[in-house]
């Protein structure tokens, strides 16, 4: 574990020393503050629109961080040749991959926390309440969903050589899952064999990221998700993270270092 935490620490340092997070955070703040300063259509429930826009920006920003940060980790290590002195030390490839994943996931968690604190503060100025348990569920589900995305992007970084191509493919895959994933079973019904079976298999094989999208819970102040379902969703995310990380370790084990 010592080695894993050492690698993770470097990844976290990288995130807070790069400008990416700050740019996304400032852009989110600016857009939300501009939106908050205008009273569109004189609507009394304008706070909900504002919360919706803010959460959408948080989701987009967090996905950008969760895809681009792991996508460049191993390719940058290879390009700068830092992988050589690193693996020449008593550090296994498994520890390196797990450390990179943990670092990226924790970094996403920290970034997410900053975004949600801002979101909470913005909501509180309009609605004068802090539904902490709703926030807790939303943040945790969001963070675990990002864990799946981080693991997927890390696996992609070992398959596709260029971080840019990996990032693009990951954005398309994640976007596809979020927007189309839940409808794949219905689409399959309209198709003929063998495509129907293929689409059905895809429906059951892909991680259903949309399950973690509980924005409505905090926008409309809905009641809490039953804790059993909440925990099952977290376990579901952990299972997919394990699958993608195992894949990444297997690919990396066979990969030439230089």
């Amino acid at each position: 574990m010592r080695n894993i935490f050492a690698v993770a620490g470097v990844v976290i340092k990288e995130l807070y020393r790069r400008k990416d997070f700050y740019v996304l955070f400032i852009v989110t703040i600016l857009i939300c503050l501009v939106m908050a300063s205008v009273n569109i259509f004189n609507d009394a429930k304008i706070a909900r629109y504002l919360k919706e826009i803010c959460l959408l920006l948080v989701w987009v920003s967090s996905l950008i961080i969760a895809i681009t940060t792991p996508a460049r980790q191993i390719p940058a290590e290879r390009e700068n040749r830092t992988l050589l002195p690193l693996l020449a030390k008593p550090l296994t490839r498994l520890e390196l991959i797990v450390g990179k994943f943990l670092g990226c996931w924790l970094a996403c968690g920290v970034a997410l926390l900053c975004f949600y604190i801002f979101f909470g503060a913005l909501s509180a100025t309009r609605e004068h309440e802090w539904p902490l348990l709703q926030y807790f569920q939303a943040v945790m589900l969001h963070w675990f969903m990002l864990g799946i995305v981080v693991a997927l992007s890390l696996l992609g970084s070992l398959v596709f050589a260029a971080p840019s191509s990996n990032s693009t493919i990951c954005f398309v895959v994640v976007g596809g899952i979020l927007f189309v994933g839940r409808h794949l079973d219905q689409i399959a019904l309209t198709l003929k064999e063998p495509v129907r079976t293929i689409v059905y298999s895809l429906y059951f094989a892909i991680p259903h990221l949309e399950l973690f999208d509980v924005r409505d819970l905090v926008i409309h102040n809905w009641p809490l998700i039953p804790w059993t379902y909440f925990c099952l969703a977290l376990l579901y995310a952990l299972a997919y993270m394990t699958v993608f990380l195992t894949g990444a370790c297997l690919v990396f084990r066979r990969k030439a270092v230089n």
Partner: protein
């Protein structure tokens, strides 16, 4: 003296798509032995198999056949790397870290206690003359400074064996002299140094023994004076050993 680094009939083959499945033989049964406390120069033209040998020793490339060991432990075991330091050729360290942070990171991997790590970091930054820049981000370092921070990271665990891949490559004469001085100091401290270089003058100055490989085969091994033999210098001997026609002096 006991052998610290040993290879026996080491053979490495790479399958190449470009060669339509015909494997490229990088090493043909290489036998090497480096003894404790010596500075060993590993020479050969580009593509001779020097880096492949180092990659096998560091566990990056599995041997096709034969054996390689460090301190008597098979190189495929990660524990074999506990007592070594490695400096690769032309590495650009994490530019978002400072030299101190970089060394602390590597110290953690070796499991050094906080106080011990602090002491080693101070000692090494002084040795490589980077004390003044210890809090500066590595991205602001010159090439020579980066190479010296690389040398410091290779020494963080106070290794008994140091593997250096062209340590002076790309450095100016002053930088080369500094690296040479550090190698000399390490030799005086009783460390074993195994390094590859194209700078034959430097090898002649620093090394106790040298090995010359060409096309994956060991061509010569012995003390510098033995290799040089009747030739004017190591460079002339090297060229003859690898079969390069040397102009005869008038």
């Amino acid at each position: 003296m006991s052998a610290i680094l040993q290879t026996e009939k080491l053979r490495v083959e790479f399958s190449s798509r470009e060669l339509r499945g015909v494997p490229k033989i990088a090493l043909h049964g290489l036998d090497l032995e480096v003894r404790a406390g010596e500075v060993f120069g590993f020479l050969g033209p580009n593509g001779a198999g020097k880096t492949t040998t180092m990659n096998v020793l560091l566990g990056f490339v599995p041997p096709t056949s034969g054996a390689a060991s460090l301190f008597g432990i098979d190189v495929r075991q990660p524990i074999a790397r506990q007592r070594i330091g490695y400096l690769p050729e032309l590495t650009y360290y994490y530019k978002f870290l400072t030299a101190e942070e970089l060394l602390r990171f590597y110290a953690k991997i070796f499991g050094l206690a906080r106080a011990e790590a602090d002491r080693r970091i101070d000692e090494l930054l002084k040795l490589v003359e980077l004390e003044h820049a210890r809090k500066r981000l590595i991205k602001s370092y010159s090439k020579g400074m980066q190479q010296r921070v690389g040398l410091a990271q290779a020494l963080i665990n106070n290794p008994d064996l140091l593997i250096l891949d062209e340590p002076t490559s790309g450095l100016d004469p002053l930088g080369r002299m500094k690296v040479r001085e550090i190698i000399q100091r390490l030799k005086n401290e009783g460390k074993t140094v195994f390094f590859s270089s194209h700078e034959l003058g430097e090898v002649e100055t620093v090394c106790d023994r040298v090995a010359i490989i060409h096309q994956g085969q060991l061509k010569a091994i012995g003390r510098v004076s033995e290799i040089t033999g009747s030739h004017a210098n190591l460079e002339k001997a090297f060229l003859e050993i690898i079969g390069f026609p040397t102009p005869t002096s008038p």
